[in-house]
C-alpha cells in the first residue's frame, strides 16, 4: 500500500509540475505601459508665424528628440509678446518661450520677463551661434539695481536669449546699370556726379529726382547711417556700445561734415534728408543703388529688379560697418517648465531648426558661417548679407538706446536740411539725449 501511495504521489507531482510549467511562459515579457505612455509636460511658445506651417515642422522635429514635451504654439507678433506676458505671464496664462527683436531685449529684462540661460546653454550655443548674435543676446546686468552699466561691479554677464536670425543693411545694386559694384564711396560719388547730370528727355537725372544712390529709409536714420559713422570710428555708447554716459554725439563732427559736403550733394541735392524716396525709385528700376535691408528683397523681386547685394563701400580707406540686428527667442522668467523651455530654445539653434527657418521664412540663420547649409550658401542674397555681417557691429541693447534715435535724427536733419553749424547741432543732440535719459539733474 505504501508503495502504491508513493508511486501515485510521484505521478501526481509530475503531473502537477508539467501543468504548472505550461502556465508560466518563458518567452513573453512584462510591460509597464505607464513608461511608454507617460504623462507629458506642456510648454506654450509665442512665435510670429501666422499660418503656423513653420512651427508645425519645428514641433515635429523637436518631438523626435523630446517626445514627452508637448509644444503648444500660438501666433503672437514679436512686439505683442512682451505686453501680453506682463499681464498673463505670472498666472501661467502666458508663454514659456517668446520671441522679440534685438532692441526689445533690455526692456524685456528690465520688465523681469526673461530668464538668464544657464552657462551650459551659453557654452553650447557659443560653439554654433553667430558671434554677433551671441553679442546681441548677452547683457551685463545687475538684477538688484536694474542697471546695465558695465562699470557696475555687481553686473553679471549672461546670455538672455537664443539668436534665431540676423540681418544687416547692404548696398543693393541694379544689375541693369551696374556690372561691378563700387567698393569705395569715392568711386561711387564720382560715378554719381556723372549719372546725376546725365540728361534724360531734356532733364537731368537729378532734376527728375533719380539720384544715383538712394536709401530705402532716409538719410537721418541712425540705423542706416551707422555704417558711415563707423568709418569715422564712431559707435554710440562707447566702443562696447553699452555705456549710457557715453552716447558720443560730439565725436561725429567729421562724419557729419562728410555727409553734408560729400554725400548730400549727390543724394538729395538741395533737398531734405527724406526728399527722395530711394526705395521706391530702386523698386521702379530708376536708380542703380539703394541702401536697403533683407526686408526689402521681396518687394524688389516682386518688381522684377535683377539686383545684387554688395558690401557697403569704404570711406577714406576705412571700412564701413552697419549694425547687426537679430530676432531672438527667450524663456519667460517665471515659466513653470523652465527646463523644457530651455530645451526648446536650444533646439531653435539646431541645424534642422535653422534649415526650417530658412525654408519657411527666408531668414539668415544666426549660425557661424561654416555651419550654414548648402541651401543657404546657394542663396546669393543671404550670403552677401552674411559677408556684410562679418564686419557689422551689434545693435546697442541697453535701454538708453531708445533715447538715441530721436536726437540722432534731429541732429542730422538740422545740419542737412537747415545748414546748422555742426558743432552746435552735435552739442544740442548730446544735451537732448541726456535730458531724455534722465542724466541731467
Amino acid at each position: 500500500m505504501k508503495r502504491i501511495f508513493s508511486v501515485l504521489f510521484v505521478l501526481m507531482t509530475a503531473l502537477l509540475l508539467v501543468a504548472c510549467g505550461d502556465t508560466i511562459g518563458k518567452d513573453g515579457e512584462i510591460i509597464d505601459f505607464s513608461e511608454q505612455y507617460g504623462q507629458k509636460s506642456i510648454i506654450r511658445v509665442w512665435i510670429d508665424d501666422e499660418e503656423g506651417d513653420y512651427m508645425k515642422e519645428i514641433i515635429k522635429e523637436f518631438n523626435k528628440l523630446y517626445p514627452d514635451i508637448e509644444v503648444e504654439h500660438q501666433h503672437k507678433g514679436s512686439v505683442d509678446s512682451r505686453e501680453h506676458l506682463k499681464t498673463f505671464g505670472p498666472s501661467g496664462n502666458g508663454a514659456d518661450v517668446f520671441q522679440f527683436p534685438h532692441d526689445h531685449l533690455s526692456t524685456a529684462v528690465l520688465e523681469d520677463l526673461v530668464l538668464p540661460l544657464p552657462n551650459e546653454t551659453k557654452d553650447r550655443l557659443a560653439e554654433r551661434a553667430h558671434e554677433l548674435g551671441m553679442d546681441i543676446a548677452t547683457l551685463y546686468y545687475d538684477e538688484e539695481t536694474g542697471s546695465f552699466d558695465p562699470n557696475n561691479e555687481n553686473a553679471v554677464e549672461r546670455l538672455y536669449a537664443v539668436p534665431m536670425s540676423i540681418e544687416a543693411v547692404g548696398l543693393y545694386y541694379n544689375k541693369e546699370y551696374i556690372t561691378t559694384p563700387a567698393e569705395t564711396y569715392e568711386e561711387l560719388i564720382a560715378a554719381a556726379k556723372v549719372w546725376n547730370e546725365t540728361e534724360v528727355d531734356g532733364r537731368t537725372n537729378a532734376q527728375n529726382g533719380d539720384y544715383y544712390l538712394g536709401t530705402s529709409s532716409h538719410w537721418a536714420d541712425s540705423y542706416f547711417i551707422q555704417h558711415i559713422y563707423s568709418a569715422f570710428d564712431f559707435t554710440p555708447f562707447g566702443p562696447e556700445l553699452n555705456d549710457p554716459k557715453e552716447v558720443g554725439f560730439e565725436k561725429l563732427d567729421k562724419a557729419l561734415l562728410w555727409m553734408r559736403d560729400e554725400l548730400k550733394p549727390v543724394t538729395t541735392g538741395t533737398g531734405d534728408t527724406d526728399s527722395i524716396g530711394g526705395g521706391g525709385k530702386f523698386e521702379e528700376g530708376k536708380i542703380p543703388y539703394v541702401i536697403a535691408g533683407p526686408w526689402n528683397m521681396e518687394a524688389y523681386k516682386g518688381a522684377g529688379i535683377d539686383f545684387g547685394i554688395a558690401k557697403l563701400p569704404s570711406i577714406n580707406g576705412k571700412e564701413t560697418k552697419p549694425y547687426a540686428g537679430a530676432m531672438m527667442a527667450a524663456v519667460y522668467k517665471y515659466s513653470k517648465n523652465q527646463a523644457d523651455a530651455i530645451k526648446f530654445v536650444e533646439f531653435l539653434n539646431s541645424d534642422i531648426a535653422m534649415e526650417l527657418q530658412y525654408e519657411y521664412k527666408t531668414k539668415l540663420p544666426a549660425l557661424k558661417t561654416e555651419l550654414l547649409t548648402d541651401n543657404v550658401r546657394e542663396d546669393k542674397e543671404l550670403m552677401a548679407m552674411s559677408e556684410q555681417l562679418e564686419n557689422a557691429v551689434p545693435m546697442p541693447t541697453i535701454p538708453e538706446v531708445q533715447y538715441f534715435w530721436g536726437p540722432g535724427e534731429a541732429m542730422v536733419k538740422e545740419i542737412w536740411n537747415a545748414d546748422k553749424d555742426i558743432k552746435t547741432a552735435l552739442r544740442e543732440a548730446e544735451e537732448s539725449y541726456k535730458t531724455l535719459a534722465g542724466l541731467v539733474s
Binding site: 511562459g25 505601459f33 508637448e70 499681464t87
Partner: protein, 519 residues
C-alpha cells in the same frame, strides 16, 4: 465844372461799389455737413442755422420738419446746403441741437447743444462741394460756452481724396507725445520714427467729456497704381503704438475710396499699447465703431485661431477679465490735487475693489490677488487669482464697477465662462471598440508566451471642447492598471487617462487577455 466833378464822383462811386460787391460775393459752393454722436441715435436731432442762403435749411428746425432733409450714411447723419453764396469774411452759423420731442418748436438749449459752430466761408469753393464733419461736443463759438478752447469741425479739400482719422481713448489717458508716424500725405509733412507728428486735435467728446481726437489727411489717389500713403498712431515708440500700419493701398485693396472731396473715415479706439493688430481700426462703419469704442462691457469669451480671449475662467481658481475699452489705471493725488507716486501695492488694492465674483446665491468668491500690466497708464486685461476653486457645475457672475459717480462710472457684468465638459476619448481601433461603451467588453487577445505586439495597443482620438485635439496628452497612470505580463494567462485591465487644462479628467479602460488560443 461843378457838374463835371459831381458826375465824375458819381461814376467813381458806382464803379467802386461794383468792385466792392463783386469782391464780397465769390460765386456759390455746396456744403454737406456730417454729424456723428457716440450713441448712433439721431432721433432727437434738429438744427439751428443762420447766415446762409441754402434752400430748405435755416433757422430752428425740429426733427419732424427735417425728416425729409436729414440723411444717413456710414458716418452718421448729414444735411446738404446747396448753392450757398460765398461771402468774404462771413461765417455760417450751424448748431446741431436736440429736441425733447420731435415737434417742439425749440430745442433743449440748456442740455442738448450737440455742436455749435460758425463755419468760415473761407472753406467754401466756388462750384465745388466741401464736406464738413462735426462730432458731438465740438464747438468753435467760444463766445457762448465756457469751454477752455475751441473744439473744431473738420472739413475736406474738394480737389483731393480725403481721409479723416480719429482716435479715442475711453480711459482718457492720452499720452502727451501722442501723434502720427505718417508718410506720403499731401497736406502734412512726413514724420520720422520716434518723433510723432502732433496733428491730432480734439474734434469732439463722448458723454463723459473724454476728448475725441482727429485729423484730415489729403492725398492723390491713382487707381491701379501704387499709392504710398500711410500712418501709425503712437506716442514715439514700438511699445506705445495704438495701431499697426494703416496704408491706403491695403485699406482700399477691396473697395475704392470715396470720390474727391468726400472723406473716408477711419476711427480708432484705444485697445492697449503695443497693439498692431488693427482690430481697433474701423473704416466707414460708425455703427460698429460706436459699439466697440463707446459702450462699455466685459468681452465675452471667444476663440481667436485657437487662442481663447475675452472673459473666462481658464481653470478653477482664476478668472481672466477683458474690458472692451480701457480704463485709467489708479492714480494718487495729494491734498492740492497734484499727482504723486503710487506704489504697485496701492494700485492693486484699488483695482481689486473694481471686481466681484458672485455665486448663484450672491455669495462673494474671495479674490486673493489680481494681475495686470503695472506699468501701463490704462488697463483692460486682468487675471483674478481666486482664494477658492470655482465649481463648474454652478454659475458665477463677474462684476466690474469703477465706483465713480454719475456718467464717469463704468460698470459691467458677465456670466463666467467655465469649462464644464471633460475630454472625450474615442477609440478608433480595434473596430470592435469603436461603439463599445462597456469597458469590460473591450477585450484584445494577446498571445501567451510571446513578446507583446505593439500594434495591438488600441488607437484613439481625444477631443476637448476648449483644448481641441489632446490625443497626445493621454497617458497610462502607473499602478494597478498599467501592467501586462504575457508569460501568464489572464485578463489585464489597462487604463487611459487624460486631463484638460481646466482639470476635467476622463478615464477609459480596456482589457488585454493573454491566452494560448492566439498563436
Amino acid at each position: 465844372m461843378k457838374r463835371v466833378i459831381t458826375s465824375m464822383l458819381l461814376i467813381l462811386t458806382f464803379a467802386l461799389t461794383l468792385v466792392f460787391v463783386s469782391a464780397e460775393e465769390d460765386g456759390t459752393g455746396n456744403l454737406i455737413i456730417h454729424y456723428q454722436n457716440t450713441t448712433g441715435d439721431y432721433s432727437d436731432v434738429g438744427l439751428n442755422s443762420w447766415n446762409h442762403d441754402a434752400d430748405g435749411i435755416g433757422g430752428v428746425q425740429n426733427p419732424e420738419s427735417l425728416k425729409e432733409i436729414t440723411k444717413t450714411d456710414d458716418f452718421g447723419v448729414y444735411w446738404e446746403l446747396k448753392d450757398v453764396t460765398i461771402e468774404k469774411d462771413k461765417s455760417i452759423g450751424f448748431q446741431v441741437v436736440g429736441f425733447n420731442n420731435p415737434n417742439d418748436s425749440d430745442p433743449d438749449w440748456d442740455n442738448k447743444k450737440y455742436t455749435n459752430h460758425e463755419i468760415s466761408s473761407d472753406i467754401l469753393v466756388d462750384g465745388e462741394t466741401v464736406h464738413v464733419y462735426m462730432f458731438y461736443g465740438s464747438n468753435t463759438r467760444t463766445n457762448e460756452e465756457a469751454t477752455p478752447e475751441p473744439i473744431p469741425y473738420l472739413y475736406t479739400n474738394p480737389l483731393k481724396h480725403n481721409l479723416i482719422l480719429t482716435y479715442f481713448d475711453q480711459s482718457n489717458a492720452y499720452d502727451d507725445n501722442l501723434g502720427l508716424h505718417n508718410w506720403g500725405w499731401t497736406n502734412i509733412s512726413g514724420a520720422n520714427w520716434g518723433s510723432p507728428n502732433k496733428v491730432l486735435k480734439n474734434v469732439g467728446k463722448d458723454l463723459t467729456g473724454t476728448p475725441i481726437k482727429g485729423v484730415v489727411l489729403e492725398y492723390d489717389y491713382k487707381e491701379g497704381e501704387e499709392n504710398d500713403y500711410g500712418v501709425i498712431v503712437y506716442a514715439g515708440g514700438d511699445n506705445n503704438k495704438k495701431t499697426g500700419d494703416i496704408k491706403i493701398d491695403e485699406i482700399f485693396a477691396e473697395v475704392s475710396p470715396k470720390g474727391l472731396g468726400e472723406a473716408d473715415v477711419i476711427q480708432v479706439y484705444n485697445d492697449g499699447d503695443g497693439n498692431t493688430s488693427n482690430e481697433n481700426v474701423i473704416l466707414n462703419d460708425a455703427e460698429k465703431y460706436i459699439l466697440e469704442a463707446y459702450s462699455f462691457n466685459l468681452v465675452p469669451m471667444f476663440n481667436d485661431e485657437g487662442e481663447y480671449k475675452g472673459t473666462f475662467a481658464p481653470n478653477p481658481n482664476q478668472v481672466i477679465a477683458e474690458l472692451n475699452s480701457s480704463v485709467m489705471a489708479p492714480i494718487k493725488l495729494d491734498e492740492d490735487g497734484k499727482k504723486v507716486e503710487i506704489t504697485n501695492e496701492e494700485k492693486t488694492t484699488e483695482i481689486m475693489k473694481w471686481f466681484k465674483v458672485l455665486d448663484e446665491d450672491d455669495n462673494e468668491v474671495v479674490i486673493d490677488d489680481i494681475h495686470y500690466d503695472a506699468g501701463a497708464s490704462s488697463l483692460r486685461s486682468f487675471v483674478l487669482i481666486l482664494g477658492e476653486d470655482l465649481d463648474n457645475t454652478k454659475e458665477y457672475t463677474l462684476k466690474f464697477d469703477l465706483g465713480l459717480e454719475g456718467e464717469e462710472n463704468k460698470a459691467a457684468e458677465i456670466l463666467v465662462d467655465m469649462d464644464k465638459e471633460a475630454p472625450q476619448i474615442q477609440f478608433i481601433s480595434p473596430s470592435s471598440f469603436a461603439n463599445e461603451t462597456d469597458p469590460d467588453k473591450r477585450i484584445i487577445e494577446v498571445a501567451w508566451n510571446k513578446k507583446f505586439d505593439q500594434n495591438l495597443f488600441p488607437r484613439f482620438v481625444v477631443t476637448d471642447d476648449r483644448d481641441g485635439d489632446i490625443t497626445r496628452m493621454v497617458y497610462v497612470p502607473k499602478g494597478d492598471y498599467s501592467i501586462l505580463n504575457t508569460n501568464v494567462e489572464g485578463d489585464y485591465k489597462i487604463m487611459l487617462r487624460v486631463e484638460d487644462s481646466w482639470g476635467n479628467v476622463t478615464e477609459e479602460t480596456f482589457i488585454f487577455r493573454v491566452t494560448k488560443k492566439v498563436k
